[in-house]
Amino acid sequence: MDIKKNPLSMHINVDSFLPASDEDKAYMVKMRPSSTFFKDGVKRLLKNKVAVVSFFIIVIITLSSIILPFFWPYGYEQQLGNKFPYPVDNSYSNLKPFEYGETEKARMEAGEKVFPHIFGTDAQGRDYFIRVVYGTRISLAVGFFASIIVLIIGMLIGSISGYFGGVIDLVLMRIVDVIYSLPDMLMVILLAAVLNVTLGDAIDKSFLKGIGGNIISLFIVFALLYWVSMARLVRGQILSLREQEYVLASKAAGAKGGWIIRKHLIPNCVSVIFISTALQIPSAIFTESYLSFLGLGVNAPMPSLGSLANDALNGIQSYFYRLLIPAVVVSLIVLSLNLFGDGLRDAFDPKLND
């Protein structure tokens, strides 16, 4: 603009009030991409070395338990000394690591390559390495699915109870109180023992046959008993969230209960729920291995880390490594899941970051 200004005038300099050019604007903007809650959390998580290492351990163990059985030459229930047309070959039982059975030795002398028994074989001549791999797979699967079951039931009941309140809340929470005060492990043992006897036949006839009666009863037990703390957590979250103004606004705009639960309440407590689910997995694995150790876990030919340890207890003097291997694996899984869960909590729980 070309307005002439008297140098002695007290008037303000109009030039300073011109609209900013794009260059000026670009200079003012701090060049930092906007960050979301999730991105921030991941950033914090990656800074936590312990959590990252634990995460990699979990991934490696999980992937190898899934992939290895596909190209391992031995099956988990295959008794190597017991091939159908030939007589039973006892030289395959109780092999030490990297030892071979008689026929395998003969084959090796003939120049054939034989896949080694890295951890030896067990008393029935089954390759121990693949049994440990399968045991890990089953323990992980039980832990994962049990946590999912707990999550679904707990979230459903917790959100209903928290959102509707009143009589529904009162009744549900009294049920939760009673189940919560039940001695869980005793009930788990009792139910696992009885359900397997009661449901075993029915399951064997149904499509669930492949999974095995004991694992199904384990899931039922988890579904019956462990949803309560999840339900309490969700309820507590929802009780505090539903007093927020945006819920009121949503209601005023005519939103229905289910919509508010799905769109407002659950997304806002999702990180807390996710973390507690992650921490539920190691405790489920713990419970499964405990039950299997007592002989109440998975069905016989199928191994789990607990039942492998239990089997090894009898031969502890001569075959100590058979106890040590599943023990190390189960401890590693539980430890790294716990550490990773702690890392998740530190990274994603906004209440801890003030």
């Binding site: 109180d177 009673v178 005060s181 039940l182 001695p183 492990m185 005793l186 009930m187 043992i189 009792l190 139910l191 023992a193 009885v194 006897v197 009661t198 190691p282 713990f286 291995s289 405990y290 150790f293 007592l294 002989g295 109440l296 607990g306 340890a309 239990n310 090894a312 207890l313 502890i316 003097q317 100590f320 106890l323 040590l324 023990a327 189960v330 401890s331 539980v334 430890l335 716990n338 550490l339």
Partner: protein, 309 residues
């Protein structure tokens, strides 16, 4: 005692009684849902003998009547009926025998966890991020993550089979050392971590700063000001700890061959001794419920900031 306190205590006792009743009911009906009833026909028993057996144990009556008698016998006489597999022994008698051993092992484990864990946690908190603290935290993290059955088996192998320091089973008093250590390690580590974190929490409080500003000595701050308040979370852990010890004893007694109530429970399940399963479940559950009750009440009594509602 205010009426509010009394009301809380009564409510809490009511919940405990309700829980015990629920446990008895679940146990009873779950056990009777087993196909074929408690007498699995391993040997072919003639029909008259079967009927006689059922009449003897009252199994010919309707289920609800059996439930009534079972409940009445427990409440009035603490009688759980006869054992099915062990002729001539009552469940109550077998439980009483087992309980003596288990309770003494459990109590020693609990007290050692408490009296070692709390000072250890305090030491860790005072030396925060120094080498002592690091060592304590590494070991407690390890022991918290190791399942008790693994710890027990490792001890058994190491100390009795390799080093031959301690006997593998609990006939002499030395045989009880390993089971007690196995049982105590988890709660000990947990208490250590709990004490550490709650003590660090208390160290950050205003009244500690005030005390420091007034020139109170370090020892006086730790023992006079910080210790008492940081013990409150430990007290809340009382109930869960004893519950852990009860369930942990199942595995530990199995590994070390201790004739306690835990190994009775485990063998009763494999033996399918149904009355013994019911009896041991109910007694163990009662123990846990009572411990939780005491822990809860203690917690409310110790911390005046907690409201009774």
């Amino acid at each position: 005692m205010s009426t509010k306190t009394l009301a809380y205590i009564l409510k809490r006792i009511g919940l405990a009684l309700l829980t015990v009743w629920v446990v008895i009911t679940i146990t009873f009906f779950v056990m009777h849902a087993v196909p074929g009833g408690p007498f699995l026909r391993e040997k072919a028993v003639s029909e008259t003998a079967q009927a006689a057996l059922e009449a003897k144990y009252g199994l010919d009556k309707p289920l609800i009547v059996q439930y009534g008698t079972y409940l009445k016998d427990i409440i009035t006489k603490f009688d759980f009926g006869p054992s099915i597999k062990h002729r001539g022994q009552t469940v109550t008698g077998m439980i009483r025998d087992g309980l003596k051993t288990s309770v003494s092992i459990g109590l020693i484990a609990a007290f050692s966890a408490l009296f070692i864990g709390v000072p250890l946690g305090a030491v860790a908190a005072i030396n925060r991020n120094k080498i002592v603290d690091r060592i304590i935290m590494v070991f407690t993290t390890l022991f918290v993550s190791l399942p008790s059955f693994i710890m027990g088996s490792l001890f058994l192998y190491l100390f009795s089979q390799q080093l031959k320091w301690l006997p593998a089973n609990g006939d002499k008093w030395t045989g009880y050392i390993m089971p007690i250590i196995t049982l105590a390690l988890y709660p000990l580590s947990y208490i250590t971590r709990l004490t550490r974190s709650s003590m660090l929490d208390v160290f950050g409080q205003d009244y500690i700063r005030t005390a420091k500003a007034k020139g109170v000595s370090k020892g006086n701050i730790i023992f006079g000001h910080a210790m008492k308040n940081s013990l409150i979370p430990v007290i809340t852990y009382f109930g869960p700890m004893l519950a852990y010890i009860v369930t942990g004893s199942l595995v530990v007694e199995k590994i070390f061959g201790i004739p306690g109530i835990g190994s009775k429970f485990v063998t009763s399940i494999t033996d399918r001794d149904y009355t013994l399963i019911m009896g041991t479940t109910i007694v163990l559950a009662m123990l846990i419920v009572i411990m939780n009750l005491i822990g809860d009440l203690l917690y409310k009594v110790v911390d005046p900031r907690i409201s009774f509602d």
